[in-house]
């Protein structure tokens, strides 16, 4: 197995909702007891619907948010209690690419400055000329020519902007890239180009990817391992091959069933009109939506599970 470049252990994050002055609002647990490892040269995907805690998990792992419990290791370094100054020295190891290529670039900055900004922080000894040279190399790696340097973001298409976002993350030579829905705002033809670029960069540089997505076809194409999240819990994890071909948790199955069809022949004749159910307060969080729910699911303790968080997992075959 490849080197572990990031490990999180028992992460938990609680957000307080509502509340006024000294009154405490309702506690909303966004992430429960989350543990996983990221390996050099491999991609771990987190899938789940909006509000399931995917992006919160990524932000915790990057220490953009502080967890309420648990530990995070970048390489061998525990980073939960590092001071801001010490943290900054380690920040270049983990970089992020954002979802929206239109909102994540400063419209007033030239590309050479946007991409080079990380170098000012992490390699302050470089001269302006050295910095510009490095920006040029990195943009080239991401498929953009020298003419891009002096331009502004509005002069680029969505796909090109996402290349700029990737270059900005790569320039400080990280070990880990956190990719939060990096292709969901792109057209399918452009999406293919960016996915090919990401795979290519991973092979060249041995990068570890934490890839957040709700598109299972994209995940199946790019990821090695997958965590399926529902309401802050990991309900199933494993290799993409295992989880997608033989899902054990009913939620994973329901996600796979919701995938877009490939041909009009696959249309189901009767689609009933159903409301969107919520999340159960006690026991298994998926119980309200689960087609296989039984009486004991209401007293199931989600905290105590590993692998597949289900009392009645789907049988094989």
């Amino acid at each position: 197995m490849n080197k572990v470049v990031l490990r999180v252990d028992g992460l938990r994050k609680v957000f307080q909702r509502g509340g006024f002055l000294l009154q405490k609002g309702k506690a909303n647990v966004a992430v429960h007891d989350m543990s996983f490892g990221l390996h050099a040269g491999k991609t771990l995907a987190i899938v789940g619907e909006s509000g399931s805690g995917k992006s919160t998990t990524a932000r915790l792992a990057m220490r953009l948010l502080d967890a309420d419990a648990g530990e995070i290791y970048w390489g061998d370094t525990p980073v939960m209690r590092l001071s801001a100054g010490n943290l900054r020295q380690h920040r270049q190891r983990i970089q992020m690419v954002f979802q929206d290529p239109f909102a994540s670039l400063n419209p007033k900055m030239k590309i050479v400055d946007t991409v080079g900004e990380g170098l000012r922080v992490h390699q302050p000894a470089l001269s302006a000329a050295q910095r510009a040279e490095k920006v040029k190399e990195t943009l080239q790696l991401c498929g953009l020519g020298d003419e891009a340097l002096q331009r502004y973001p509005h002069q680029f298409s969505g796909g090109q902007r996402q290349r700029i976002g990737i270059a900005r993350a790569l320039i400080v030579e990280p070990e880990i890239l956190v990719l939060d829905e990096p292709v969901s705002a792109l057209d399918v033809s452009v999406q293919a180009q960016i996915l090919n670029l990401l795979k290519d960069l991973q092979q060249k540089k041995g990068l570890a990817y934490l890839f957040i997505s709700h598109d299972l076809s994209v995940v199946q194409h790019i990821a090695d391992d997958v965590l399926v999240m529902f309401a802050g819990h990991v309900v199933e994890s494993g290799s993409v091959g295992d989880v997608f071909s033989a899902p054990k948790h009913p939620y994973t199955q329901s996600l796979l069933d919701a995938r877009p069809i490939n041909h009009p022949n696959e249309r189901k004749t009767a689609l009933e009109i159903k409301a969107d159910e919520g999340v159960a307060e006690d026991g298994c969080v998926f119980a309200l939506r689960c087609p296989f729910v039984q009486a004991d699911c209401a007293s199931f303790d989600m905290q105590q599970t590993h692998g597949c968080a289900c009392l009645h997992p789907l049988s094989q075959g």
């Binding site: 619907e49 909006s50 298409s157 969505g158 057209d187 399918v188 033809s189 452009v190 999406q191 293919a192 180009q193 996915l195 090919n196 795979k199 709700h214 598109d215 299972l216 076809s217 994209v218 199946q220 194409h221 790019i222 329901s254 996600l255 069933d257 919701a258 995938r259 877009p260 069809i261 490939n262 041909h263 009009p264 696959e266 249309r267 689609l271 009933e272 009109i273 159903k274 409301a275 969107d276």
Partner: protein
């Protein structure tokens, strides 16, 4: 029938009206779903908005052609009648459920507004109608929902409410612009089921604007593929899925991650869509096409290759097929 006949639209680019949609013809029939497919910037949303003459508020102009509702031109219609058509005979479902509702009015007042504009119901009858519409889209607790404001609701619920509002004027035709792209997969599937059920039960004619072939496979009867402001291939959903014939349609289908199963590189289309104003006389896809030759430089008609209802704007269909 709602018919787009030989429509050309211009958009203002750096002060000049530039052709963005050229000589486009479509027919929406009752009870049928026509999907308009293409990448960003090909003119599909522009076409959809023009079906209600909404584009003109952003400076979109009509260079030629017409849009006919049961034979009557939308462009020569008096404003008062046009207001009855919008949300009445022809309703629209927008892409962004997060921004299409007004955040400062309650759900109830927004639905009632549409009902009162398009019917003569008394306030009590209108409320009952609103509840019935909400129940139709799977929202059972309508009475409490009508008191709420959009920010309290999820994307899926907002999209259901927008669909209920579209149904409020008893439309014959629905223009749906990317109705599911902003939603989670599991919610998408439910909204697709809802749209299909309503469309079939009420015999609606629907124009479905999308770049998602999965949605096309779920809903469409007919498909029109757009590229750089014109239709380049048109046919039944089975013709398009079983025998895509234009090199662009094929390439677009092959870009999807589902098309590669061994983890290898995905197919990409080199280059980019030519912007309005930079189209030549001939095939607009030529610069990106693997089959491009000198013959492509002359004008190509949509029925250059035709078999039944299947039409392709390409002189190399037989080469591309082999």
């Amino acid at each position: 029938m709602l018919e787009v006949r030989d429509l050309s639209l211009t958009v203002p680019l750096q002060g000049t009206a530039t052709l963005a949609v050229s000589n486009l013809s479509l027919q929406l029939q009752a009870g049928k779903v026509l999907a308009l497919v293409g990448e960003s910037g090909c003119g599909k949303s522009l076409t959809a908005q023009s079906m209600l003459r909404l584009g003109e508020y952003q400076g979109v102009g009509k260079a030629s052609g017409d849009i006919l509702l049961h034979g009557q031109s939308l462009f020569s219609m008096p404003d008062k009648q046009l207001r009855q058509v919008r949300g009445g005979s022809i309703a629209m479902i927008f892409q962004e459920p997060m921004t299409a509702l007004n955040p400062v009015f309650s759900i109830g007042s927004q639905i009632l507004e549409v009902i009162q504009l398009h019917t003569d119901l008394s306030p009590e009858q209108a409320s009952a109608r609103a509840l019935a519409l909400l129940a139709d889209v799977g929202l059972q607790e309508g009475a409490s929902l009508m008191q709420q404001y959009p920010d309290a609701l999820s994307g899926g619920m907002r999209q259901r409410i927008l669909i209920a509002m579209a149904m409020a004027g008893n439309p014959e035709f629905i223009i749906a612009d990317e109705p599911t792209t902003a939603l989670d997969v599991s919610v998408q599937k439910r909204i697709i089921g809802l749209l299909r059920t309503l469309q079939q039960d009420k015999g609606l004619g629907m124009l479905l604007v999308t770049h998602d072939f999965g949605l096309v496979a779920e809903m469409a009867d007919e498909v029109a593929v757009m590229y750089a402001g014109e239709i380049i291939e048109q046919g039944s959903v089975f013709e398009i899925f079983d025998h895509p014939a234009h090199p662009y349609t094929k390439a677009l289908m092959n870009c999807r991650p589902e098309a590669v199963t061994d983890g290898g590189a995905l197919t990409v289309i080199p280059g980019k869509v030519p912007a309005p104003g930079s189209w030549g006389q001939g095939c607009r896809f030529k610069s990106r096409c693997t089959f491009g030759t000198d013959v492509c430089d002359k004008h190509v008609a949509l029925d250059e290759w035709q078999q039944g209802s299947h039409m392709v704007r390409c002189v190399h269909v037989m080469d591309a097929k082999s």
